[in-house]
Subunit: 296 residues, 2 copies
Amino acid sequence: MATSPLKICAFQQAVTTDRDANMAAAVSAAHQAADAGARLLLLQELHAHPYFCQSIDNTHFRLAESIPGPTTETLGAVAKKHEMVIVAPLFEKRPSGIHHNTAVVLDSDGTLAGMYRKMHIPDDPGYYEKYYFTPGDLGFTPIDTAVGRLGVLICWDQWFPEAARLMALAGADILLYPTAIGWHPPDDEAERLRQRDAWVTIQRAHAIANNLPVISCNRTGFEADPSGALPGIEFWGSSFICGPQGEILALAPADKEAVLLADVDLARSREVRLQWPFFRDRRVDTYGDLGRLGRD
Amino acid sequence: MATSPLKICAFQQAVTTDRDANMAAAVSAAHQAADAGARLLLLQELHAHPYFCQSIDNTHFRLAESIPGPTTETLGAVAKKHEMVIVAPLFEKRPSGIHHNTAVVLDSDGTLAGMYRKMHIPDDPGYYEKYYFTPGDLGFTPIDTAVGRLGVLICWDQWFPEAARLMALAGADILLYPTAIGWHPPDDEAERLRQRDAWVTIQRAHAIANNLPVISCNRTGFEADPSGALPGIEFWGSSFICGPQGEILALAPADKEAVLLADVDLARSREVRLQWPFFRDRRVDTYGDLGRLGRD
């Protein structure tokens, strides 16, 4: 368990089609975060690539990599150099030939502490993830590291209170959400604000319901749909870090890259959990229908 | 199912020890809401009484009533007169001699459509509810009325995403939270704001996660602890109504009574549920541990 407070960092990135340049920017952000004292760095979903799920195109499978592989090698070395835990989302190719939307967790000694495979897979216009990613098979299992037990989830998972709760019940110290979400260019300003506010609100609510800090790292910048069929995505940035009452500790802008830093106090989580002891009162005798798609 | 939009109302009340005066104020608010076109009225938790759970005192059990009883009689007549659905929280005494923190739902013809018995019972300094209330035995069962299927929950339930989800899975059209929550006078301004913001945020998140409107009705005003042991509670009001993206439609002040009105559009909920189809992607194959107190 880390000493408190723990400085943590999200790197909100605008990416290009140049994988090496995207990775170099992430490494540079890691140096900057380490210089500032950060001991945990979260990168955004599929951080080394454009959000290729905007179109259905089997050439994109070439972007996938193995674990261990180039990302664990490059960022493992960075983690070790700075004695920093790095959570790096990537496009995973398994030996069996199936693919996942995965985040690897590199411990502060550079070793692979574990990984999380995205459990909830979206499929909407411009977010054709069910085509690319097999739903995760590792469950909601937090990963032990030098800075604590990390409840890593990915993007669409953030809309599911079940995911956050299961990580918390398994002892997570922090919830982490690498994300790629943005605006549909034709949407008007009111709809844009409702969507982004909903996205912030529900993640803050996971902090509140589970008495845990949350760090959410989203990409920024406009990415065109390479197929030309859709108008592209304006990723809305707005990465943030909040404390265990959902209080915002740091917030990035919508439209700029950011090395976002905040101190989280894990002792504070334990205080809050005593002050508002929700977990004491869960009615586990009556939650069976959560395991069904509906009771309608 | 109601036509859309549906005008709904929360009556945020400051109560005294005079039960008849508290009830008369609620009846007056019902008239006012009906005149404004409301077809659903939500009263606050234990609306006819001071929040007696501030102290442990067995004389308070005298405040309990049967169902049917005085509240269903008085408010049933009001519901029928105005063809309005009224959700009225009360202190329930069962024939067996046990007690619940309950809300009755009076349909627009004045009949008892159903009731909800609070499932999650808090117990904290000034909120000694485990002394008074047996945890509910009716589960998370929404109640069919002339204006739709109502997912009635009560106060502490609002911190449990499980409760909102179960109501939504069972087909609720609206989530309703009668509440009695306030500030501990010694707490500083920053802590007060964090607490109230957490309370708003988590309820808005239930709207977002479940693509449903939420109406939350809290009491207002200061109530002393009759035992003198504690410094009393400054109920923070701030009742609100939000839409299925968590967008605030109406918000009451902290420190004044309010007949809070808003139009909710149930057709909009269905649109939002198609736009962000969370329910499609729930991993019910992996949620088993939600039925456990922990995996730690």
